[in-house]
């Protein structure tokens, strides 16, 4: 399960709408609790893909990830996953997502249709990398 507050969910929705027709992306900071991921903060990241590809691709560079890992260690929390938007596409992981994902992390996807944020889902990659399993997304006040 992935748990986040209503405010954080709203921030992701706003980021998805602002980036439309391109993809937004960012890092989910938080902690693991009995296998669940509890998100306590977001780290928005500028999509590092070439501008002509950002409508269907996102990239968080190794340098951004290094900074985020160091920040997480300093602040005593963990990187528990990532969020990104699918402009005018369903909120489910694509084959491209699977090819580039890692087990453990939660992958939160927001569908943005004609500029409006809609469905949000979360999934985790299986250890054998063969498929994603969807997980419950719990949004609390």
């Amino acid at each position: 399960m992935l748990k986040l507050t209503k405010d954080l969910a709203s921030a992701i929705r706003a980021a998805g709408a602002a980036a439309y027709p391109n993809e937004c992306c960012g890092i989910l900071f938080g902690r693991e609790e009995n296998g669940d991921h509890v998100v306590t903060a977001l780290k928005p990241i500028d999509n590092a893909r070439e501008s002509g590809e950002q409508y269907h691709r996102f990239l968080i560079t190794a340098e951004e990830m290094m900074e985020a890992e160091l920040e997480a260690r300093r602040e005593k929390f963990e990187i528990v996953g990532f969020y990104h938007s699918h402009p005018d596409h369903p909120a489910r992981p694509s084959e491209y997502d699977r090819d580039h994902a890692l087990p453990f992390y939660s992958y939160l996807i927001l569908r943005v249709a004609e500029g409006k944020p809609e469905e949000m889902t979360s999934s985790r990659l299986r250890l054998n990398r063969e498929a994603f399993d969807s997980e419950t997304l719990e949004i609390n006040p």
């Binding site: 992306c25 691709r57 990239l59 190794a62 340098e63 990830m65 290094m66 699918h86 491209y96 890692l102």
Partner: protein, 92 residues
């Protein structure tokens, strides 16, 4: 010489939940090789074969990407910090 390897959250389940591990090694390749010997399950996750790291795996030595240095042959001083960092990508 001893170096500290920082493990990202996604890979900690393969190293007994440790977030950092001290290993011996004079180069990045030696240090990672010793880590992989110690934790064979991790080896499958970060190595494409016996010598090449998977594409998403990036390694930093004291904050510098080894791609800008000498790759796995980059020397590491005693007390250096080696960080394994995944690059994250996706899309619809």
């Amino acid at each position: 010489m001893s170096v500290t390897i920082l493990i990202p959250t996604a890979l900690r389940s393969f190293v007994d939940r440790n977030s950092e591990i001290e290993v011996e090694g004079a180069t990045v390749g030696e240090a990672l090789g010793n880590l992989a010997t110690q934790y064979p399950d991790l080896k499958q996750q970060i190595y494409e074969d016996d010598v090449k790291l998977r594409g998403f795996v990036n390694v930093f030595v004291d904050g510098t990407n080894i791609k800008k240095l000498n790759g796995l042959d980059t020397p590491v001083a005693s007390g250096a910090t080696v960080m394994i960092v995944p690059a994250i990508a996706g899309g619809c």
